[in-house]
């Protein structure tokens, strides 16, 4: 059914914290990926 499963977490106020945690975790992953990429670039240089 349309938007059923994946939208459930976003649509349900009771699951808002879960969504915010996923956002925070993804942001932390981005930060880590960026740090590793910089380190790799410095090593290559």
């Amino acid at each position: 059914m349309l938007f059923r499963d994946d939208l459930a977490a976003v649509q349900d106020p009771a699951r808002r914290d879960e969504v915010l945690e996923r956002i925070q975790a993804t942001a932390a992953q981005l930060e880590e990926d960026n740090r590793l990429a910089k380190a790799a670039g410095e090593l290559a240089a």
Partner: protein
């Protein structure tokens, strides 16, 4: 924001006669300025039933067909500097399903069913990724980032659903 989405999704009358688009796109299609469209909504020349707002009162979507018809009907052509009201034609993708290649109904329904699920998945994946990017790069709190991106993505999602003639109430 979540309550707004729930209302939008379950209480809307989205169907094949509706064409929900952003305010700027609506103004563009009508050949008018963005500000003129805002003013027409504020004046009531475009009825509230043709407009969706978020929890903060911002306009997030306009039903092109109803809003453009009412705006034309309620516009004083003298005040509009004699400029004729000539709504631009809707994009071919949303205006002419009859022009599409004939597809067997059952196969078409199955494809649309899958497209709907893909669309929902893309929406959530994009929302969380975009919010995470704002947290990382711009230092927003996760709740702030979620609010910032949700309205835009909702408009995109419903525009895509309308273009595909998906039933968003299912």
């Amino acid at each position: 924001m979540f309550a707004t989405f729930a209302t939008f999704a379950t209480g809307s009358q989205l169907n094949n006669q509706r064409d929900w688009i952003g305010l700027r796109e609506f103004a563009r299609r009508c050949g008018r300025a963005h500000r003129a469209a805002q003013q027409a909504i504020a004046d009531g020349r475009i009825p509230a039933s043709a407009v969706r707002h978020d929890a903060g009162g911002r306009i997030i979507a306009v039903d092109y067909h109803q809003a453009s018809a009412c705006w034309e009907q309620n516009t004083d052509q003298v005040r509009a500097n004699f400029r004729p009201f000539t709504p631009a034609p809707a994009p071919a993708r949303s205006r002419a399903p009859a022009q599409r290649a004939p597809v067997q109904t059952s196969a078409r329904d199955a494809v649309l069913e899958q497209l709907g699920e893909v669309l929902g998945t893309v929406f959530c994946s994009t929302l969380i990724a975009a919010a995470a990017m704002s947290v990382w790069r711009h230092g927003l709190r996760p709740a702030q980032a979620l609010d910032v991106h949700e309205d835009t993505l909702l408009v995109v999602m419903y525009a895509a659903a309308d273009a595909l003639q998906l039933d968003t109430n299912r």
